[in-house]
Structure formats: structure tokens, C-alpha cells
Symmetry: C3
């Protein structure tokens, strides 16, 4: 029994064996940045190249030998467990879809979802926006962030171990930025961010202070608004809020922080209600066949077919102009409004967010007017189809759950009465 | 008489009394960030919690006991006086309107405008955009910046006194950024800003170098373009320019700096003339009843009623698409053009500013064409109303001062002649 | 013969003569930042004011005595030669056009293109966007970046010589930022940029690491996508790629870096193909006379006259709404997509780039539909002009090289057959 730890030491820890195992690599890679960084890291003398990369040089050279989180998890088991419980480890395979049958796909992508030699995918969640991209855009534009699920190097760098890197909010900025979720930008110019940049820790919080307390790798603690857009159940939401306030209290009166986050909650709901207003306008146009082009006359949605999609699976391509405006309102401006609010940033909340949501709502209403006027000549000239459309719209709204059985029956009765007049 | 200063010392300065007065608070707040920061600050041993926050713990806990600029002014009288003379202290209550009668308002906002126990507001200036927001958006999106009028902590941090914080341009970035006035972004990537970030002071200027010379808290010295959009009188403008050039001269030949600022003046006027071109197009559409929807058919402006508003009180919500384009042109792109120019930033002046102004002007002209064509069928089919409209448009332009009495009479005569033909 | 170097020393290098020559200036400029910086620089005691600025104080004061690259080249010949071979020194006079005959131009601009006393311009390349600007916008918005061709001070600062300035990516940010080429922003939040900001050199690369290896002033080594939009010949492109990979290899496996850049190449081509799709839609509308307004009814292009211009000489002013959308797609969003990809930035590649290209393509298609529908009543009511237009469109496409002689003949035959039916 006492031999086991010794064997372990021989296998993983003793400098000699590491050098031995790395010997073949170093013949060529001695001067590489990878080797230089490894030797300057906490892994120096403990790990050799093959320990993480394996020994199949052909595979490595073709990029087919990805160092997965499991490789790091061999030694860093707790961190891997926390990572897997968080959005970094769970929800982010939302970025993946099986692309086996997509034209022009590169098979080397397989290992992102499948363990080698196992056809069972780690995840079945698919992202319509990923599926519609070219392989190269998918790799640069999607995978480079979403690969965090299976790559510790996303944050830590591939051969570095300096804590400085992962304690710097810049490491988060790589992905948590841009039109759809500018968390870094919102933090950077908030009271928290500006103080952090003047004074540094511990006088002001960086990303890690609030989202990775005590160095946990579960980055999702304290978040009450899940990425799906659907709220947590009341109990879960309260638990999460309590976790966050426990952190706020390190610097602020709990009552002050609670008020602030409640304000952000309200801003989130108010914003989602504006998003819903815009969504209803477009859905109604679709119900009446007034979109230009109509969903049935364009490239099909890869998952839903010839249907209007305005939820999380919405695409930004092959849609009509009014949907294009909605995409910007929902995915960009609304997200900025409430992410800005939760990060205490007035300009993201108000100008990049709220003002843009409302400006785009004007634009959507104007375009909806145009589409309705454009549609009128068709329906006015043939009186009966108008009633048929009214009945169809009512039925669709009932099917979507927007009209109760009673309301549907009553409204249907009214329309039929008009026809029989 | 000699007792007074001694009493003052006993009350405010001696370490013992401060601790005594803070004793009740520290029982709970000893480990708070606020206390930690206070003890590390220049106020340590001089001020206790109750000196600034008062002793009404219930009020403090409910956020009703805001530490106003008057509290700080007890010791920092000169800074308060300078602050009040500047835009930070004067014009910024533009961000406030009395919200007493707005639905769902929180009464705790009152102390931002009213001294406690005094119904007379400090200011009567109102901001239409603030009034139309929800209470929560107003607090996060508006007040967090505009509260600077009554909060030294906006810049200094609430319990910190480190000069480092307020000498860092990041402290200004919190508010002076974003689509409507990206002063920080424009400075950051200007010759001044990039050198500052490489070399730091005194080789390159930060915000404070030019806008707070010798540490003055009057941040408005040297500004020739007031926020109202209306220019200063000639004499005042010259005085202000002289102040700025005196500062420029610390680094630059005065003639060089003067030329540079004159160029920016010209860019500002050229840009405002493009804004006016766009404004005239939309006003003319409104005169002819061609906006969609027309002001009388939508939510009223809270201050002006069912009227087209294209000036500083313009809203970004419940307006037509063409006004939405104008808002972006005027409030965002035009502001970037000349603020970019005054901060010597080529990309903000040209691409974020000038190019966007002109692109939006194309869009406005295109939409105006569409609205005119849309309106034509109505007026062409009934010949006389066209003349009536022409007469009404002339009258409105005369009322707005765009047509002199003579020109109005002459043009009216021409239209009447056409009718009588 | 041996006297020459000594004369040179006397003239340029000995401290005494420098002070002597600067004496007249220092009487007034002793306390100037310029003098302070000069004395702290490597030029201290070696160069006096007049050595660079000349002795004509009137000209200097009027800004007519620009310190050209030739002045610096007297001592820094190799750097000047490298600079002139690069885009900084060659292609950037694209920013200039002879403005002699433009109304309101300031003659002091002449020396940017002409050596003093020489009417032959250094360059004849002209930029339509520059020509259409006011003199002041041209100076602030265009020249402040494009003057790099003739100004070492653009990067080095005018009187500073600290290497720190020009090794900092911020020095590049001044120009390489913004909606049209956000290289700095893309780098800043890439893996490279974020590591650079945490660890600094040499653990992560800044702009200079890859674009100015060994301090070369030819910044264009390794670039395979020239600014003109037209690709390099195969051989040249391969040479350039080899140069870049030699640099990548300092840190990365060559095979990894090569794959990454090939992906970016693919993204660039895919993006340019979307740009072409949009361009064809608008060109077709123009062929059919459906643009609103048509090119012949608006301000003429300064170089091409009353013609639709959608290439590198495209203006952003006095164009129709659909062209306005195309300008944003082509000049902003497409550029972000592939510059983002080459700088390994997922958010610029995907969200600021690809998603925006595709959203704008929706908008362009929607507007094209509207313009086609708007145009239909005119052509449907007169049947024959439709055929005439079809023939004209075919001819234009043939002239542009989009239709071979055979295809043109065949399609023409088909149309004529329809007419004769």
C-alpha cells in the first residue's frame, strides 16, 4: 500500500523522469516558447511534454490531440469538479452541435464533444448559430471562447501557471466582451472597475473577486439570471442572491447592496418586457403573412425548419429586416441594459442599453407600419381572406398559449358573426 | 471668543472624540470596508462615522441619509465653491426633475434635489429623458452620474482620500464615456492619452491636467462649447479660450495650439450645420403631416405635449423611425465628431463622428423620400388641400422665425396666385 | 577628405554648437515642454532647435515648417528606408489628394505632398473621401494619421526619444483603431493582448513583436492582405506568410500557427464573398435605375462623376440609404471580421464582424425589395421599356466583365425573342 504514493511520485513528480519523458520532444522543442514557459512554471520538473500531450507526434502536429480538462483534472480534481458545475463547464457546450454531416467540416473538431474513441457525445445541446457558420468561422468565432468547457488553457494559458494571469480581469475580457455581453467593458468603467485600475486589489473588486470567491472554479455562484433567459425558481434565485450579498457585504452595507441589486432586477424585467413588446409585433406580422420575406420563402432554420424563430435559437442571417432590428434589440441592447445594471455601469445601462432598446423599438414599429401598409392592398381587394386570416391568427395565438380556450372561442365567434352579417 | 476654535477641535479634530463618536458604529462595522478605508485615509482619527452620516441609523440603513456636498464643504469650503461654479455643480441638476407625482417613484430620491426639511428645490431644471424613465433606470442610468452635483464621493470614493484615485483619468471615465460623450475614449487613443499611458505624468496630460489645473474643482474653465448647444457670448468664449491656451502653452507653442483648437471650432460648426440640415428635413415632414406616426398620434412629450421635439429635450422613445435616426445623428455621432476634434482624436472625429453623421444623413434623406412618396397619394388626389398645406407650412416657418415677415408675405402671395389661376 | 567627418561633427554633434544654434530659440522657449523633452532625450546636446525646424521663425510659427521624415533620415537613414518601403511610407499617401483647387483650402497643407520648392508631388494617388472633406476635417480626421508618411513624430513624439513609447502598443492604437480597422481593439482582447497586459513582454506579443521584428521600420512584412483589397500574387503572398510564420514559430508550433492563419484566410475570403453578394444587389438596382436617388441625380463623385462607386473610392456622403448600409457592411463589419480573425479575436471576428455583416445583408436585401417594388409600377405600365432595360442591364454586366461574350449574346437573343413574340 505504501508503494502507491511512491509509484505516483516516480510517475509524475520526480524531475528525472519528467526530463526523461520530455527528452524526445526537447530535441526539437528546446527553444520553444512552450518549453521556456513550462520551465518557468510551477510544473517545471514535475511534468514533461508527453504527460499532457501524449506521445503521438503525428496527432499532436495535426492539432488532433487537444489537452482536455480531464488531463489537468488528474492533479486538479477539485477545480475540475467546480468548473464542471459552473456555466464554464456545463452550459457552454451550447456552443456545440454535431457537425458530422455538415459540408466541409473538419473531423478534427470531433474531440471537442466526444472523448476519443467514444461516439456518445458529452452533450446534445446544439447552437443554431454555430451550425450555420463555416467551419473556420466556427473555430475562430465560436470555439475559441466556448472551448473553455474542455480547456483549462483558455484562462490559464497553455504552459503558464502564473496566478497573476488568472487574477487579472483581462483574462475574462477575452470572451466576456462585445456587443452581446460586454461584462468586461461594463465593469471596466464602473466604480468597481475604475477604482480597481487606480488602486488594484484589495481596495476594489475585479471579476474574480465576485465571481470566483476563494478561488472557486464554479463561476456561476450568485447569478440570478441564467443564460437561457428563463428565471431560476424562487428558492434557487434567493439562494444565489444570498451568496452574492455575502460577498458584497465584505465592502458594503448589506442593505445598500441589496437595494442596488433589486434595482438591477427591476431594470432586467422592464427591459425583457420591452423585448416582449417587440417580439409580439413581429410575431403578429408573421401570423398575418406580412414579413418580407416570409419564413417559408427563405433558407430554413437548421433546427426548426421554415418557421419564425425569435428566441435563443434565433439566427442573424437569412432573416427579414425587421427581425434584423429585433436581433440587435434583444441580443445586443437588452443584454447591455441589464448586464450594465448588474455591473453598476450607468452608461452601459442607459445609453448603450436602454436608449438603444427604445430607439430600435421605434425602428421596429416604423417598419411594422410599412409592412402592414404594404400588405393592405392584397387583403383589402379580396374581402373574405381577411376574415380567414383573422381566424388563423386567433388559432395560432391560442396554440402558443397567448389566448385561453374561452377567449379563443369568444373571439372566433365574433369574427364568424362579422362574416355572416 | 477663544473657546470657539477649541470647541471646534474637540468636536471635529481630536482623535479621541472621533473614536468616541464612532464607537456605536464600530461595534458592528469594525471589519467593514468603509471602516478599513476610513482608517487608511487622511480622515483617520479626525472623523467618525456619525460626523458625515449622522446618527439616525434607521435612515442610514434605508439609504435616506445621503452624504451631501455640504457635509464635505464644512471642511473643504474652497473646493465646494469651485465645484458649484462648474458644470459638475450647476448644470448637472439638468439630470433631475421633481418626480413626486410620477407613479412608482421612491421618495428617497427627494434629498437629491431638496435639502432635508425644505420643499424649495435647489433646482427647477428638468430633464425630459429622466422623467420618462422608470425609477430604477433613473437611479442606475441617470443618477449614478448626475448625482455628482451633490456627491463628492462620485469621484473621491466614499471613504477613500487617496489623491491617486482622483488624478487617474479612469475616475472621469465612469461618466465621461459612451455613445453620447466619449471624452475618455477620445482622449485614451489620442496623442495625449497614448503618451500618458506610456509615460504618465508629467510628460503627457490626463483629464485633470487640462480640466482641473492646479487642482481646481471648477472643471469648466477653458470650455467654449457649453452643454446647452448654444454658444457663449463672444467675450466669454474668448476668455475661456485664453484660459485653455494658457494651459496648452505649458507644452506647446501657443500658435500651434490655437490653430488646432480653431480647427476643432470649425469642425464643430460644420457638424452642427449638418445636424441642422437633418433637423430641417424632419421639421418640414412634420409641417406637412408626413411623420409616421405624427406627434399628435403618440405618447405625449412630458413637457411639450403632442409636439415634435428635436432639441435638447428630445426623447429617444415613442418617436418615429426618422426621428430615431436623427437622435443617433445628433446626440451620438455629432457629439463624437466635435468632442473627438477637441480631444485631438482622428478616429473619433472622422469615423465614429463625421462619417456616421453623413451616413445617417443619407438614411434620413432616404426615409424622408419614402415618407413623402407615402404621403403623396393623399394630397395629389385632392388638389386644394395641397395649397392649404403649403400655406400652413409657410405660416409655421414664419412663426419659428425661419421666414421674415416680407418673405412670408411674398411666398403666401405666390401660393394664393397659383390657387386663383 | 578627412575634414568632412569633422565638419559634420562640428555641424551636428558637438554640444557647444548645438547650444549655440539653439540659443536664439531658448531665449523664449527655455521652459517649453519641447525644450524640456529635448534635454531629456538622446538628442540632448547633439541637436539644437534649428537643426530640425530651420531658422525661419515666421514659417515655424505659421506651421509651415513641418519636420519631414527627410530631416530625421539625415541621421536615421536605414529606418527611413525601411519606413518608405512599408505601408506607412508608401500606400498612405492614399490619404492625400492635391487640394490646390478646392475651395477654402489652406496652402500650408502643400508641404505634406510636395517637397518645398518642388511642384512635382511625391505621390499622385488620391483619396476621394479626403477630397470631399472640409479643410479642417481633412486635417484632424485624415491627416493626423496619414501624415505618418512624412512624420516620424507620429509615433516617436516630436521631441522625445524614449524607446518605451514606441514599444507600447498604445502608440499604434492612435490610428489603428475604430470602426474601419480596429486592430488595436482586436489585439487588446485577444489571447495575445490580454497576456501582454498581464505579463508584458516577452511572454506575450504586442503590435511591434509581430509587425516590427528586430525593430524594422518596414511594418508590412508578413501581411498577405494588402489594403487595396486585391490579393498579392501567389508567390508574394507565400513569401509574406513565410515571414510571419517565422515569427509565430518563436512561440508556437509552426503547424499550429499555419492552421490558424489559414483559417483566417478562409474567413477573409468568405467575408469578401458576402461583400460581393451585397455589392451585386446594389449594382443590379443601379443597372435598373432603381436607386433612390440615382447617381445621376446627386452630388457627383469627385473622381468618377455621376456614377455608382462601391469600391475603395466609395464615399460615405451623398449616397442612397442602401449604399449607406453597404458602406457599413464593407468598410466596417467586413474589415472587423477578417482583421479580428488575423488577430485571433473571437468577438471581433464573430459579433462585431460576421454577425454584423450578415445583419446588414438582411437590411440590404429588405431595402432592395422595397426599391424593386417601388420601381415596379413605372415599368409594368409600359411594357416595352422593361425589355429595353433588360437589354441595358445585360450590356452593362458584359462591359463589367460579369458576362462572357457568348453568354451576353445568348441572353440578348432570349430577350429579343420575347419582344418579338
Amino acid at each position: 500500500m505504501r508503494l502507491l504514493p511512491i509509484l505516483f511520485l516516480l510517475l509524475f513528480v520526480t524531475p528525472i523522469s519528467a526530463e526523461e519523458r520530455g527528452r524526445d520532444c526537447l530535441a526539437c522543442h528546446q527553444k520553444d516558447s512552450a518549453n521556456r514557459q513550462l520551465l518557468a512554471s510551477d510544473h517545471a520538473g514535475k511534468l514533461g511534454c508527453a504527460d499532457c500531450h501524449g506521445a503521438d507526434h503525428v496527432a499532436i502536429d495535426q492539432g488532433k490531440s487537444h489537452v482536455s480538462v480531464d488531463v489537468c483534472g488528474r492533479c486538479h480534481a477539485q477545480q475540475l469538479e467546480e468548473h464542471r458545475k459552473s456555466r464554464h463547464g456545463m452550459g457552454l457546450h451550447a456552443g456545440w452541435g454535431c457537425t458530422r454531416n455538415e459540408k466541409g467540416r473538419d473531423k478534427q473538431e470531433c474531440t471537442f464533444c466526444h472523448q476519443q474513441g467514444d461516439s456518445q457525445p458529452i452533450s446534445t445541446v446544439q447552437c443554431a448559430r454555430f451550425i450555420t457558420q463555416t467551419s473556420e468561422m466556427g473555430q475562430i468565432g465560436c470555439n475559441r471562447c466556448h472551448m473553455i468547457e474542455n480547456s483549462c488553457g483558455s484562462c490559464h494559458g497553455n504552459h503558464l501557471t502564473a496566478a497573476k494571469i488568472v487574477q487579472d480581469p483581462m483574462v475574462c475580457a477575452k470572451c466576456h466582451m462585445g456587443p452581446d455581453h460586454p461584462q468586461w467593458e461594463a465593469w471596466q468603467t464602473s466604480q468597481h472597475g475604475t477604482l480597481f485600475q487606480s488602486l488594484g486589489m484589495p481596495d476594489a473588486p475585479g471579476c474574480q473577486t465576485c465571481h470566483m470567491p476563494q478561488g472557486t472554479h464554479n463561476v456561476s455562484g450568485g447569478l440570478t439570471a441564467p443564460p437561457s433567459g428563463k428565471p431560476y425558481a424562487q428558492l434557487k434565485a434567493e439562494e444565489q442572491r444570498t451568496k452574492m450579498l455575502d460577498l458584497c457585504q465584505n465592502c458594503h452595507a448589506r442593505s445598500f447592496a441589496a437595494r442596488d441589486l433589486l434595482n438591477a432586477d427591476a431594470v432586467r424585467l422592464q427591459t425583457l418586457s420591452l423585448v416582449d413588446e417587440a417580439r409580439r409585433i413581429i410575431r403578429d406580422l408573421d401570423d398575418r403573412g406580412l414579413l418580407d420575406p416570409q419564413p417559408r420563402n427563405r433558407v430554413e432554420h437548421p433546427q426548426r425548419g421554415p418557421e419564425l424563430v425569435l428566441d435563443g435559437a434565433m439566427l442573424y442571417e437569412d432573416i427579414s429586416h425587421i427581425e434584423s432590428l429585433f436581433f440587435r434589440l434583444n441580443k445586443y441592447a437588452a443584454a447591455k441594459t441589464f448586464k450594465g445594471a448588474y455591473h453598476q455601469n450607468p452608461d452601459y445601462t442607459h445609453w448603450y442599453g436602454n436608449a438603444e432598446v427604445k430607439l430600435l423599438l421605434n425602428d421596429i414599429k416604423g417598419e411594422a407600419n410599412r409592412l402592414r401598409e404594404r400588405g393592405v392592398p392584397v387583403t383589402i381587394s379580396q374581402e373574405e381572406p381577411q376574415y380567414e386570416m383573422a381566424l388563423e391568427v386567433l388559432q395560432r395565438r391560442h396554440t402558443r398559449g397567448e389566448l385561453s380556450a374561452e377567449d379563443y372561442a369568444e373571439k372566433k365567434r365574433q369574427v364568424l358573426e362579422l362574416i355572416l352579417q
